[in-house]
């Protein structure tokens, strides 16, 4: 693709997205909830689209298509099991939302600290999130760099691509906090779902229709439609991949924080169902891309080339190919800016406000806005370094955040859970995941997430039983939740 085409596409996207960000403003933000949670007044549709754009990073359409290309239908199972796991929002969504309304939480880590009556829990949860999510953002930024330079055969450099993504992420989050992030996310999600689905229609049509598509897959690529198929998706690989993702909706703060934002239970419901339908379509689309590339271009060096090769091929009209490519870049930005916003709110609310106890909401907000570009620049610098360590942390992000799951579940379901149990489980299991990933160790053939979760559960339960529970706080918190859940008829 010529760099003129790419830059034209990027320019059109930047103009539309910036105007959208600007239009999303709603008065001056004076407090943390207004800026970081859209004043807890977000509508259901925008919440659903933004949740989708935040969850599905650039690499869904590259990574999942690539995984399908390399391992077959197991990739579909992996992503759909994650989507079924979003049912956790059915249980935790109303709970997060109700306690957010009652206690004014801005971040999920703040909720943990308050519930376990120990602010160290909030500090540790916030720092753990930063340790895993800043490198994850860095890899997303690097992805934009690679994608743009790849699309133009190096005419647009890696550095220009990453700088562009960094600046856009800063602008979209600074204009109006969550509101501008959510609206630009929605723009990206809608354009993407339409254009990506159109690509599927074009490609399947070119390949002779649906019947011939699946028929050729079975004939030319035995094992592509079953697991373990060609052996790529062994059961332990499948389990290791899916487990961290089943709990993604409560373990990853950039999405669990969104449970505080809807304006009503009705909006929360729309967010949940809208996201699930979006994710379902998006998953089927990505997997179909992978299969189509396998049929038409069977000899690619790696699965990651499946999407770029397919989009640049004569199966897809050029203009549509460019729209989708720009959409993939926008998808990276929409994931990064949401993560930045969440991490900034955590560092401000759970670290700065703990260190400076008399800080006002206004001061916290000011610090938060200052921290936003600092996080973006840190991610940018990491992306430039291209250190192995960054890649390790990024890959282990979902497994690393999994270690917080026992404490999060305990928040609502176990009166006996204690701060000591939460702290030990997060710190020890988090460190274990990090070292397993760093050294590439697979105990008994299982991935780091499996061991991280197991150790985290044992420590959380064991140490909680051996230490005194914050009875008064637990009672206040759980009684309020129970009463309100009953009023709202939620499970």
């Amino acid at each position: 693709m010529s760099s003129t085409w790419v830059w034209t596409g990027v320019a059109i996207y930047v103009v539309f997205a910036t105007v959208t960000a600007y239009l999303s403003r709603s008065g001056k933000s004076l407090n943390m909830a207004h800026y970081f949670l859209g004043n807890r007044q977000m509508g259901g549709f925008v919440s659903a689209m933004s949740y989708s754009a935040t969850t599905y990073s650039a690499f869904m359409l590259i990574g999942l298509a690539g995984l399908t290309y390399a391992g077959g239908v197991g990739a579909l199972g992996f992503e759909l099991i994650y989507l079924c796991g979003v049912t956790l929002v059915l249980i935790f969504g109303p709970r997060f939302w109700l306690v957010g309304q009652r206690f004014g939480y801005v971040t999920p880590s703040e909720m943990l600290g308050h519930r376990y009556d120990n602010r160290s829990v909030a500090v540790v949860a916030a720092i753990t999130s930063c340790v895993f999510l800043i490198p994850y953002s860095a890899v997303q930024l690097a992805g934009v760099g690679y994608l743009m330079s790849g699309m133009t055969d190096g005419a647009v450099t890696f550095t220009s691509g990453t700088i562009l993504a960094t600046i856009l992420a800063i602008v979209f989050s600074l204009v109006a906090g969550l509101r501008s992030v959510a609206w630009t996310d929605s723009l990206q999600a809608i354009v993407m779902i339409i254009s990506a689905t159109l690509v599927v229609i074009f490609v399947i049509n070119e390949l002779g229709g649906l019947g011939s598509f699946f028929g050729s897959l079975s004939e030319d690529h035995p094992g592509a439609l079953s697991v373990p198929g060609n052996g790529f998706f062994s059961f332990s690989t499948f389990l290791g991949l899916t487990l961290p993702w089943v709990f993604f909706s409560i373990s990853n703060p950039q999405v669990s924080q969104r449970l505080y934002t809807p304006g009503s239970m009705r909006d929360l419901r729309r967010m949940l169902l809208g996201f699930m339908v979006f994710g379902f379509i998006y998953t089927l689309v990505s997997v179909t891309w992978g299969f189509a590339a396998l049929l038409r271009f069977p000899g690619l060096e790696t699965g990651d080339l499946a999407t770029p090769t397919l989009l640049a091929s004569d199966l897809v009209p050029t203009v549509l190919g460019i729209i989708v490519m720009i959409g993939i870049i926008a998808a990276a930005v929409s994931t990064i800016d949401s993560i930045m916003l969440t991490l900034s709110s955590m560092l401000t609310r759970d670290v700065y406000a703990v260190a400076k106890k008399d800080s006002t909401e206004g001061q916290q907000l000011l610090v938060g806005k200052f921290v936003l570009p600092v996080i973006a620049i840190a991610a940018y610098l990491f992306a430039q370094l291209e250190l192995d360590l960054i890649a390790v942390l990024s890959v282990s992000a979902s497994a690393g955040l999994l270690v917080m799951v026992p404490s999060i579940i305990g928040t609502f379901f176990w009166r006996r859970g204690t701060a000591a149990g939460a702290l030990a489980s997060i710190i020890v299991a988090g460190t274990l995941v990090f070292f397993l990933e760093l050294t590439g160790t697979r105990f008994l053939g299982q991935g780091s997430g499996v061991w991280g979760l197991l150790v985290s559960v044992v420590l959380f339960v064991g140490i909680s039983l051996a230490t005194p529970a914050p009875t008064e706080r637990a009672t206040e918190f759980l009684e309020h939740t129970r009463e309100k859940l009953r009023e709202r008829q939620a499970v």
């Binding site: 197991g74 419901r269 169902l273 008829q489």
Partner: protein
């Protein structure tokens, strides 16, 4: 938790468990669209349906 809603959640848990078991056992030899591809797709559609039913009771 309300009784009937809990059963819906148990159903989702069972469906997720089956999503691990069935494709690796019963369907591992079915190398066609009506094998694991259809199974996972149907399971997800049912789970989304359950989410719609359970959340339809939510009140503001």
């Amino acid at each position: 938790m309300n009784g009937s809603k809990v059963w819906w959640l148990v159903a989702v848990a069972v469906l997720i468990l089956l999503s691990y078991l069935v494709p690796y056992t019963l369907l591992s030899g079915v190398d066609a669209w009506y094998g694991s591809f259809l199974f996972w797709t149907l399971v997800t559609a049912i789970v989304i349906g359950i989410n719609a039913v359970v959340s339809s009771a939510w009140r503001d």
